[in-house]
Structure formats: structure tokens, C-alpha cells
Symmetry: C2
Subunit: 313 residues, 2 copies
């Protein structure tokens, strides 16, 4: 039995839309922060069964869910044996916290060892991508880039930086999100009148944030990330039926974070395919930001620091 761990990553420059649905090739390059305290642990073992068995958070998953995972395993499989996959998240599944990213990254890391493929992480990221695009980034420490390209070149890599950065996640709603990011980004590519402009600006944001990270400029990193996130959400206001992942409660927190920033604290926002907020801050500001948030709201707050990439346990 092989056991692997992968941590959640939060994109500062978003992945939002595929140019190839089969090969999971993104329209834009994305950049993320791997977190230290939100993770999936996945074990795999060969079994004598006619099909794979997939257990997530102690629940046997449906045939449909298992087939999805089996197809992913087929990219790695070197024999006819079926597998039992047992996976645990230490956070609520599908709460907009990218559980599929840490999940597929942990599974890919375990399969790489189980089948003795010895793929380096960049090559592994190309296979990981085929399970969930953003999972390719969870293989790496701290900052990870997943670059756009073709089947051979669209891989992820680690971006080294000493930038002092921390994150506070505000859990507005733990419920499973009603519209999967996979379906919604497809709709966005097909329908949104703002998608082309989003792609164009995202290319600029990507270059600008890499420079800001190199310059150790947390305020500029936060500004670029915040606008990129709002633009991603803005694309969905230009669908046939305008759509928002954010809830009224999300906007209360957004207003409050802006007040914190106006008062001089380092606090920038990013938001993914759900109502939760992620606040970008640093080690000098995080305690005070946490204190102010917990005085104002009763939401669960998760304080994260940069984390390690995936590993065998």
C-alpha cells in the first residue's frame, strides 16, 4: 500500500476555461499558493476485484465517481490489477476549496510510486492535469505555475520566492457548491461576452505578478490577484443568464476587508468557484486581520501559511 499527501492550492492568477476539454489545456497560465494545513491523504493498493473501489471520507463513492477516477488511473496503470483508493480530506469537500486539486495531486503522487514510474514532478504534472487542471499545481511547494501550451508543454513548475505571504480563508458556506467549476468555466468559454478580454488581461496579470513576487512586493501581488479574481467573477455577469458564486454574506466580508486595507493593513481578496473568501496577507499582518475578522463575523476562519508540495508518507 502506498500513501501520499497533497495540499490545497489557491490560485492568485486564476485558471478559468479550457481550450481543450479532453487534454485539459487551459486558455491562460495560472499561478497559485500551496497551503500548509489543508490537504488530502490518499492510499492506493492493488486488489483482486473486477473494478476499482473508491472510498472518499469513509464513504464508498458511486459508480459514476469511480469510473472518473478509474479513467485517470488508466493513464498510470501498468498491469491489469484493480485498485482500492482511500482518500481523506481534512476540510469539507467541494466547499470551493479545490478538493479536486489536492485529491488528484495526492492520487497522482501515489500512483507514480505504486507503478514505479519515477516521473519527475513536471512530467507528473502533465498526467495530473488530466484529472483536474489545478491539481497540477498542488504537486509543488509554495508558488506554483501551471502554464498554458499543448499536451507536451502545458505543465506545472515551482516558482522560487522568499515573499512573506499568508492566507486567511473565510468559510461562508460549507455546503457543496451548486454549480461545479468544470461546468461553469465551460459555459463561460462558450457564452461570456467578457471571456476574450479576461484571457487578454490574465496574460498581463500573470507576467506582472511574477515580477511582483520576484520584487517581494506583497501589496502589488495582492492588488493583481484581487483584480484577477474579480475579473474572473465578472466573466459570469456576461453569460446569457448572469451568475454569481458569491453570496450576499461574501460581499459583507469583501467590504470589511477593504476597510481593513484602508486602515493600513495588508489584506487583499481572492475568490474561487464558491462563496468563500481568501484573504492574502503576510506574517506581520495576519494576527490582526484574524482578530478583526473574528470580532466582526462568526464564520470559521482558517489561517494558512505556504505549504509543501505533494509527498509520499
Amino acid at each position: 500500500m502506498i500513501k501520499a499527501q497533497a495540499n490545497v492550492n489557491i490560485a492568485l492568477i486564476k485558471y478559468w476555461g479550457k481550450k481543450d476539454e479532453v487534454l485539459f489545456l487551459p486558455y491562460t497560465s495560472s499561478l497559485s499558493l500551496t497551503l500548509d494545513n489543508l490537504y488530502t491523504i490518499t492510499s492506493v493498493e492493488k486488489i483482486s476485484n473486477h473494478s476499482d473501489i473508491f472510498i472518499l471520507d469513509d464513504k464508498l463513492m458511486s459508480q459514476a465517481e469511480t469510473i472518473k477516477v478509474s479513467k485517470f488511473i488508466d493513464f498510470f496503470r501498468t498491469d491489469q490489477k484493480r485498485l482500492k483508493i482511500t482518500s481523506h480530506n481534512n476540510f469539507p469537500t467541494a466547499a470551493g476549496l479545490a478538493s479536486s486539486a489536492s485529491g488528484y495531486a495526492a492520487l497522482a503522487t501515489a500512483l507514480n510510486r505504486l507503478y514505479r514510474l519515477n516521473l519527475n514532478k513536471s512530467d507528473l504534472s502533465k498526467l495530473t492535469r488530466l484529472g483536474s487542471g489545478s491539481a497540477s499545481r498542488s504537486l509543488f511547494d509554495k508558488f506554483a505555475v501551471w502554464q498554458t501550451g499543448d499536451n507536451e508543454t502545458s505543465q506545472a513548475y515551482h516558482l522560487a520566492s522568499d515573499l512573506d505571504i499568508e492566507m486567511i480563508i473565510v468559510i461562508i458556506d460549507e455546503k457543496k457548491k451548486s454549480f461545479s467549476s468544470r461546468d461553469m468555466m465551460k459555459k463561460t468559454v462558450e457564452q461570456s461576452r467578457y471571456y476574450q478580454a479576461f484571457v487578454k488581461q490574465s496574460e498581463n496579470d500573470f507576467k506582472a505578478i511574477i515580477k511582483a513576487i520576484a520584487d517581494l512586493d506583497i501589496n502589488l501581488v495582492g492588488q493583481i490577484a484581487e483584480r484577477n479574481a474579480f475579473m474572473m467573477h465578472g466573466t459570469m455577469l456576461a453569460l446569457d443568464e448572469p451568475f454569481l458564486y458569491l453570496k450576499p454574506e461574501s460581499f459583507q466580508v469583501i467590504e470589511f476587508v477593504r476597510e481593513l486595507r484602508n486602515s493600513g493593513l495588508v489584506a487583499y481578496l481572492t475568490m474561487d468557484a464558491g462563496p468563500n473568501l481568501k484573504i492574502i496577507t503576510d506574517s506581520k499582518n495576519s494576527s490582526l486581520v484574524l482578530e478583526k475578522l473574528s470580532n466582526e463575523f462568526s464564520y470559521q476562519l482558517i489561517h494558512s501559511r505556504p505549504g509543501k508540495g505533494s509527498l509520499i508518507l
Copy 2:
């Protein structure tokens, strides 16, 4: 003394951005509904004074405000006499309810009579435009179009239609808005990465809604208007510093209106440069929409029907 009345109009296809700041030429053609029960009444009389006097809602306005109005009057003035302008709104000023539209429309209508210019309403709309773009639409009954063009052709006109349409305004916040629409639309034109796509889609929306109005299709009118409004608000998510006029409370009402619609009622949304919502409905649905809203929220609700254009009292 001449006294004139002009009613508020609410755009279904928004005016959001000038291609000429001096001549008030819009990038896009807009279309509005004039309402029956929200209005400005303005009287003008010649006085022996060295400058104009402007009284709004019983308050003497500042020199800066008065100079703005004096410059507008200069487009009409045929003698050296100064004027006393006395204006009353029957609704809170600057609450996102387009008080400048009804205000400048009432003033232009009064000045046209005072100076015996005998301009027809289309010619008058070209002068009215120079005070406030959307004011050009408040001269007309029910549906008004303000077309883009040059100084000679950018005028407003009445669009005849028997469409059954009503509006319910939800007053989230009566306070004066913190960012004037004039400044914010300028910033949008200058900065928004989504502005070009907004202009392009707005041209399509404009043509489509004119057909839907001709077809008496209230649901299609509502759908087009709702998306156009969300796209306007979406342009501001793509500013250097993303901005939202809507408040968390606005989004609660937005969610509720969508539930009403899913339950089979005719109820579509539009929103302008403030947190208030305007619900597009018809005579068969308005009572039930009002009842449901007043059961759920304590906000002031204003039920409006199509109104008359500006007139001399």
C-alpha cells in the same frame, strides 16, 4: 414664471460611458422606461440679480452647483437676465434614481417655453443631453431611445409600444451615492478591460430589445435588460480597483427576485449607479411581486407604471 414637470426614467439598455465628454455623446444607444410617479417639478423666472439662483428641495445650492446649472441655461438664454430656478423632487435626490435626468429634463422644458424657443422634443433632447445624458430620455412618454451619434444626430425619441410593463423599485439605501455615475463611467471608459466588449454587446442588446418590445414579449425584454444591467456592473469589476455599486443587501433581493421568477412570476432586474434594485414586471404580476417582496423585506417599495414625458404645468 414658467413651471415644468419631468418624470424619472429607468434605462433597460444602459447609458454607460461617453465618447465625447464635452458634447455628452454616448458610446452606446440606450433605451428607457419613463415612470409615472417619480418626478421633478421646476420653475424658472427672470430676476434682477448678478447671477442665477438655484434652489433644490428648498435648499439654496452652492456656487459650484449653481455654475453648472448656469452653464446649461446659457445654451438656451436669449437675454442678459438672470434666473431663479426652483426645483423639487418627490423622491430622495441622488439615491440612484436618476434625479439629474428628471431635473435637467424639467429645466430644459421650462427654458424652452420661457425663451419661446419652440423647439420640438427631438431638438430639445439635443440641448437637454448637454446637462445630463439620460435627461434627454425623460422628455418622452413610456419608452424612449437616446441614440448615439454626433452632436447633430445624438438625440432622443419616443418608441411607441403597447407592451404591458410595470416597475417596482426597491430602496435599499436612500443615502447619496458615494461615487457619481459621471465620474465612474469616465473611469470605466478609461480603465475597464471589459468596456469594449460591453459596448459591442450593448449594440446587440439594443437591437434585440427593440424587437422584443415590438413583439410585446415582456419576458424577453426582461431577460435582455437584466443581462445588460449585470454587464454594466461587470465592467467595474475590471477596473484597476474593482468596484461595485451593489451592496450585500442588494444581492439578497437579487436572489429573491430570481426565486420569484423560478416560481413562475414575471420579475427581472435592473440596477443603476447605486445599491437600489428595479424590478421589471407587468400588470398581471406586479401585485403578487409587491406582496412577496413586502413579506420578505422591510425596504421601501415604489410601484411605478409607464409615465408621460415632460410637460409645462
